[in-house]
């Protein structure tokens, strides 16, 4: 698929967060992965965004992952 991006180094935040989301669902092409890593190195907002996405996934899986947690008593 043709993307708007001009080159890896010029990736903007909008493009970076779209790729971050896709990376959670599929393998990115090597060039995209590299450009994304570069972008995150220089962009604190996108680094935070990435951590937030990871947290969202964790939060959604909480009820399934909580085997070691005693569930609260039923009401």
């Amino acid at each position: 698929m043709v993307r708007e991006r001009r080159s890896g180094l010029l990736m903007n935040c909008k493009e970076a967060i779209r790729l971050m989301s896709e990376e959670m669902d599929r393998d990115l092409a090597g060039s995209d992965r590299f450009a994304l890593r570069l972008h995150k190195l220089i962009c604190v907002g996108c680094r935070n965004y990435h951590k937030q996405l990871t947290f969202l996934r964790q939060a959604c899986q909480q009820p399934l992952a909580a085997d070691d947690i005693t569930p609260p008593p039923p009401i």
Binding site: M1, N12, C13, K14, E15, I17, R18, S21, E22, M24, D25, R26, C43, V44, G45, C46, N48, Y49, K51, Q52, L53, F55, L56, R57, Q58, A59, C60, Q61, Q62, P63, L64, A66, D67, D68, P71, P72, P73, P74, I75
Partner: protein
């Protein structure tokens, strides 16, 4: 009821509230959620003699519940009134967060949430989290939860919902943008981030 089954029944009752939350979030309908939970508990009870460990019972009953939820979604999308999910969140909804060249506006730059995992033990956090999920438009939320709560691969979601992979990724991206923005505004920006 044999003693083993009675014990399992008691254990299952302890999971009921969480199972119900899980099902209601995804089905957005109390009655079908109750049905799914009851069926899952019954199925677990019928296989009770195979389970000695509580941890495994929990994992098992949730996996049964996931299948029940997928069944219900499958039935819903085969109803004549079903319409293929549209892109309910427009990408341009998020434009105010960005400068003209696509970088974060200074005041919209995603914040450091610290150690947000600590929030998992905070009931008020879950109330905000659930309300943010409930604010996502229905079809967007369905795709997002099929991916993140039911753990389906995007390929499976596309097949179930007859949509293209690209459409699926676009919807997931917008769902995540919406959800993290909601959490940042409703929870993490309110000084609650220490949990």
């Amino acid at each position: 009821m044999p003693p083993a089954a009675a014990g399992i029944a008691a254990e299952l009752t302890g999971f009921r509230r969480e199972m119900l939350r899980f099902a209601v979030l995804q089905l957005r309908d109390q009655a079908s959620a109750e049905d799914a939970v009851q069926e899952a508990m019954l199925a677990a009870l019928q296989g009770a003699d195979r389970f000695g460990e509580r941890a495994k019972l929990r994992t098992w009953v949730f996996s049964i519940l996931k299948n029940k939820i997928v069944d219900i979604i499958r039935r819903r999308i085969r109803e004549p009134s079903y319409q293929e999910p549209e892109e309910e969140i427009d990408e341009s909804d998020f434009d105010p967060l960005f400068t003209a060249n696509g970088h974060w506006q200074r005041d919209a730059r995603p914040a450091d949430w610290g150690d947000p995992e600590k929030c998992f033990e905070n009931q008020r956090f879950w109330a905000v989290f659930d309300s943010c999920l409930n604010h996502l438009p229905a079809a967007t939320a369905r795709v997002f939860m099929m991916r993140e709560m039911l753990g389906l691969e995007t390929g499976e979601i596309c097949e179930e919902l007859s949509m293209s992979s690209n459409n699926c990724w676009v919807i997931l991206h917008r769902a995540r943008m919406g959800l993290r923005l909601c959490l940042e505004q409703k929870w993490f920006a309110n000084g609650d981030r220490a949990c």
